[in-house]
C-alpha cells in the first residue's frame, strides 16, 4: 500500500469515521445508563471515588503498584483486510476498536472515562468523552506517516513506540492525576450537576 496515498487517506478516514460512530454510541449508552442509575448526593461520593481510582491507576502507571486491568485480551481481526479490502476492513476495524471494551486496554485512563460517563449520567457528555478518547486514539494514525522517515508502515510505527512504553505510562499517569483533581472539584457541592 506504500505510496498509494488515496487508498491510505480513504482507509484512515473510514477507520476514523466508523470509530466515531461506535465510540459515540458507547459513550451515549454509558451516560444514559448512569442517568438511569440515579444521582443526587450519591453523585458527590461517586466523584470522590473516581478521584481515588484515578490516583490508584496513576500509581499503577508509574510502577508503584501492580495489578491487571479488566480487559478482553483481543486485538482486532487482521484477516478482514484479505476478505474485504483495505477500506471496508478499515470501517470494520474502526467500528470494532471504537467500542473501547472489545479489544485490549493497556492503560487505566479508559476506565476513568467510563466511570465519569456513568457518574455524570449525561448521555451527550458521555458521547463527547468517548468521542474525544477515540479521536485521540486515531491521531497517531493520521500524523505518524508525517513523522516517520519511511512513510505509513504500521510495522515501523509499532517498532518505533515499542521501546518507549514507559513514556506512555508516565503520560497517562500525569493525565490521571489531572483527572483526580477534576473529580475532587466536581464533587464539591457547588459543582454538582
Amino acid at each position: 500500500m506504500a505510496h498509494d496515498y488515496k487508498l491510505w487517506f480513504r482507509s484512515v478516514l473510514a477507520y476514523t469515521v466508523a470509530g466515531c460512530v461506535s465510540a459515540t454510541l458507547v459513550g451515549f449508552m454509558l451516560g444514559a445508563i448512569g442517568g438511569g442509575l440515579g444521582g443526587g448526593a450519591s453523585r458527590g461520593v461517586a466523584f470522590y471515588l473516581i478521584g481515588f481510582l484515578s490516583l490508584v491507576l496513576a500509581a499503577r502507571e508509574w510502577g508503584w503498584i501492580g495489578f491487571r486491568l479488566p480487559e478482553r485480551k483481543l486485538q482486532t481481526e487482521k484477516v478482514w483486510v484479505h476478505e474485504f479490502g483495505f477500506v471496508t476492513a478499515s470501517v470494520m476495524w474502526g467500528l470494532h476498536i471504537g467500542l473501547g471494551f472489545a479489544t485490549r486496554i493497556t492503560y487505566g485512563g479508559f476506565w476513568v472515562l467510563v466511570a465519569v460517563a456513568l457518574a455524570l449520567g449525561d448521555a451527550v457528555y458521555g458521547a463527547e468523552l468517548m468521542l474525544a478518547y477515540w479521536l485521540g486514539r486515531t491521531l497517531p494514525v493520521w500524523i505518524a506517516p508525517a513523522l516517520l522517515e519511511s512513510g505509513s508502515d504500521a510495522v515501523e510505527l509499532s517498532e518505533t513506540v515499542f521501546g518507549h512504553r514507559l513514556v506512555y505510562h508516565r503520560i497517562v499517569g500525569g493525565a490521571l492525576v489531572w483527572s483526580a483533581v477534576l473529580m475532587v472539584w466536581l464533587a464539591l457541592p457547588t459543582q454538582l450537576p
Binding site: 493497556t106 485512563g109 479508559f110 505518524a144 506512555y168 503520560i171 500525569g174
Partner: protein, 55 residues
Amino acid sequence: MTNAFSISTMNPIVRASYVLSFAGLVIGAVALPFSLRAALLPAAVIFGWSQIGGL
C-alpha cells in the same frame, strides 16, 4: 553534550506524545474556570493517544 531528555534528539513519535500531552494539560487548565466537563476532554484525548504505546 546530549541531554537524555533533550526534545530535539527524541524519537519523533515520543516527542509528539510529550507535546500533545503538555498541550492537552494546558488546554484543560485554561478550560477549567469555564467548564469542568470541558477540562476533562483533553485528558480523554491523551488517554486515547497513549494507546499507541499498547500496540
